[in-house]
Symmetry: C2
Subunit: 147 residues, 2 copies
């Protein structure tokens, strides 16, 4: 199996949007997925987010989507917003390749740290990351408000 | 008491950095506050973050620091990273003025929603926001890794 991880470009956005939909359907929450492909295209062009994609024989089978965050205590911090490997491609180490590419990107962008967030009942996601020195967790309450 | 809330500019960064330090000292965690004023100046100039400041007679007495985030499900989302009112100025409605200015900024920047996060034991912060329709919360585990 030949998997390439590379920087996402405009033409990957339909595949990225499709992976997000796949996960929303799997979680039985498709109605909560309201961002359109056109919005992805506009916001990606404006530099609001970036992504790494994992490709096999020209097909995008996974992605890690991220953008810059700022910690008032620690400074520049790359934030991993979403991270999906297509159902049939799981268990092959693709997630780890994407996560490594994300860490490398954080270093390249001059960040002191990276951040991600998982729902507190999501055991597989909580267990994904091996115990790396310096990795720490906090329980937080995440608040959102529609404008 | 005359309080003005306005967009932060370069020359407010020493006051903003000072407010972050004040809170770190109050939380007995000053050693965890490692971002320097020079880093704030470099990153603010690069557009990594923005802030609103509350000013009284030319003195900055509070601030709300934010930047753009992206939700793969909802699209553009303004994130409130830090929010401080100086000790002697609390209980005067300054926090609400800053929060309102933050919401207004989210609308101006074309966001569908705003987000913030508090530690799950921080009751005063959890109780700050009144029950606004559309406001919802999730318990999450926040992971960070030093690079």
């Amino acid at each position: 199996m030949d998997i390439q991880v590379r920087q996402a470009i405009d033409s990957d956005l339909p595949a990225i949007h499709g992976l997000v939909r796949e996960l929303a359907v799997y979680e039985r929450a498709e109605e909560e997925f309201i961002a359109t492909l056109e919005e992805y295209q506009r916001d990606f062009s404006a530099g609001v987010f970036q992504a790494k994609v994992a490709e096999s024989e020209g097909k995008v089978v996974g992605m890690a989507l991220y953008f810059m965050n700022y910690s008032t205590w620690k400074g520049k911090m790359l934030y991993l917003e979403d991270f999906v490997v297509s159902q049939d491609w799981r268990g092959k180490g693709i997630g780890h390749k994407l996560f490594d590419a994300f860490l490398e990107e954080g270093r390249k962008q001059g960040c002191r740290l990276v951040k991600w967030q998982v729902l507190d009942w999501n055991e597989p996601a909580l267990n994904f990351l091996p115990a790396i020195p310096g990795h720490y967790r906090k329980r937080v309450v995440d608040g959102k408000l529609f404008l």
